[in-house]
């Protein structure tokens, strides 16, 4: 069960894109340690933009975000510190194609955390074992299936020993038959008490694993509820429309 210690604290976040589009219109969200929060919403609702502000891949103009007690400011050292503790898994995997699977995992721990390569590789092999692809360690990402690539991407994030994992539509680019293996890994992480913020449309995952489901629309949070309540008895008209569309 999640504790009450906040890991992510976002207050009144406002973001405009350079073309003037108001992408985030005052979003508040607080995520506790060990909590799994699923963010849903129609495309263009700002959900990806929102979680990308947590590790400063997107800037925001107003409001405040603090991650694990560190306030996101323009100080570069702060940003790098937050990124080290915040893993992110992308829709398009974004594995490094010129490095082997093992090198993908060990790059950041070695060059950023300055750990010994041999020690990191032992840990990386253990992680690959855990996501079920240890035998592919010396292959290149292009030689793996989509599901395997996404599991490598998760293992790569874990290798930095993050305190928070952000998932940006981790299964949207996968063939249907490969979604299951990725969700399985994510379920395991949630069970171990990892703090996770997941943007996804996987209803089953949300219902089963999430502690809280958040629905975003037009750059704001429309509804925030426990999954049981959210799926059976949504309060907001928007939520009902959205659920009707994806069911």
């Amino acid at each position: 069960m999640p504790s009450t210690q906040p890991m992510i604290e976002a207050r009144g976040v406002q973001k405009w894109y350079p073309n003037g589009f108001h992408a985030l219109r005052g979003v508040d969200l607080s995520v506790s340690k060990g909590e799994v929060v699923v963010i849903m919403g129609p495309s263009g609702s700002g959900k990806s933009t929102f979680i990308r502000t947590f590790n400063a891949l997107e800037e925001f103009q107003e409001g405040s975000i603090s991650v694990d007690g560190i306030a996101l400011s323009n100080d570069l050292r702060n940003i790098d510190a937050i990124r080290c503790d915040t893993g992110m898994v992308f829709q398009q995997f974004n594995l490094f194609p010129h490095l082997t699977v093992l090198e993908n995992l060990s790059l950041a721990p070695v060059v950023v955390r300055k750990r010994r390569r041999s020690e990191v590789e032992t840990q990386a092999m253990a992680l690959l074992e855990r996501v079920g692809i240890a035998e592919q360690a010396s292959k290149y990402p292009g030689q793996l299936s989509g599901g395997q690539q996404q599991r490598v991407a998760i293992a790569r994030s874990l290798c930095m020993e993050p305190r928070i994992l952000l998932f940006d539509e981790p299964t949207s680019a996968l063939d249907p038959e490969m979604v299951g293996e990725v969700l399985e890994v994510m379920r395991g992480l949630a069970a171990e008490g990892m703090t996770m913020v997941v943007v996804t449309h996987e209803m089953g995952f949300a219902r089963e694993v999430a502690h809280r489901v958040v629905l975003m629309s037009e750059g704001q949070i429309v509804e925030e509820a426990a999954p049981e309540t959210f799926f059976t008895n949504p309060q907001h008209e928007r939520s009902r429309q959205f659920l009707a569309q994806i069911l």
Binding site: N55, L57, L76, D80, R83, C84, T86, G87, M88, F90, Q92, N94, L95, F96, P97, H98, L99, T100, L107, A108, V111, V112, R113, S138, K139, Y140, P141, G142, Q143, R156, S157, M160, E177, M178, G180, E181
Partner: protein, 427 residues
Amino acid sequence: MTPIQTGPESGTTPPLRPARPAPESVQPNWAGALRQELFASRTDGLVSVLLIMVILAAALGLLRWALAQAQWAVIQANTSLFAIGRYPVQQQWRLWLLVVLVAALSGVSWGLLRAFPRADRSGEIWPFNDRLVVALLGFLAAWLPAALALGLPLQLRWWVITALLVTMRWLAGHWGRSLPSRLVKLVPLSWPLLYLFGMVLIAGGLGLPRVPPSEWGGLLLTLLMASFAILLSFPIGVVVALGRRSSLPLLRWSSVLYIEFIRGAPLITLLFLGQNILGYMLPGGWAPDRVWRAAWVLTFFCGAYLAEAVRAGLSAVPPGQLEAARSLGLSMPLALQRVVLPQALRIALPAAVGQFISLLQDTTLLSLIGLLDLLGTARTVMANPEFLGKNAEVYLTLAVLFWCCCAALGLGSRALERRLDPTHSPV
């Protein structure tokens, strides 16, 4: 994931069909391929026959001229001029030492490349191509010095140098794996060191008597100019390409200005301009004489074109790569160095090598500003009354020399490309 059931235990569903071997028409075979490529239809056959006849006729004519009519004495009498120009005789041992070192290091690097295949491949220590290259080297060592009518001591030297290269290749190929890994890691680093050492050997310094650039010439000068420009233009190209994509306006604008200025003028103009004004632009002592001034012009010229190649490579790397690297905590310089640039440079490699090849050929323009590069040497030889009218022999030799250098660059780059290609399936 539910596994698809096959085999007898699958009860109600009929068993899936097993794979069959491919029919004849799919499998490549020699005669069939030839027929398909050259004589697929009547018109194809006609065109093929005509073309083959034209090519054969031209080749025969050239061969007859080269073997019967041509008088190769003009080359034989001037081998040293073509190779190194007027480099002082008593200092030539320095060049021989350099050739020996290059041969040894090439052999070692080549062998180590085979001893340490890429992580996802099973390596063969003597693949077919390598055996072919060794055979070719052996043939060249046996035939070329003799054909050039070199004295026996010189012929012997070339045999020894070739033998050294092949021996080092053999040793490194077989025992490279048992070397301590620290030593192996030094090998790539030893190339730039050898280059610097070679510069000292050629130009003098560190106790060696100075040989001024005006006494370098021929192939030596051509290769020196080309390699200098290639090596230095590379960092320039990368920095300018990054500058052009920078978010700092001043850096961006000056990069664009540099690229457009260089690309807007023909090289020959820049070379003449360089002879006149480079002395004022570079810090004192950097461009003291005509050869170095020309070298810097070539470098900056190549750098501008290279920057465009690198920029194309940079924009071909998906933005997600930088995001992924940054989200793992890599700083901007680290992300560029470890993630973005390796991919961008691999994409830019073919265009960059094309640029290097044309740079190598552009060194012939140096003869127009009065330097004795290969073409300049050739012109002085042809102007010698003793060899009047032997233009065809000289130009053909020049063409073959350039062709060999460019082919080596091209082959090397393709091998590098294959080695760096992460999606190239193992054979």
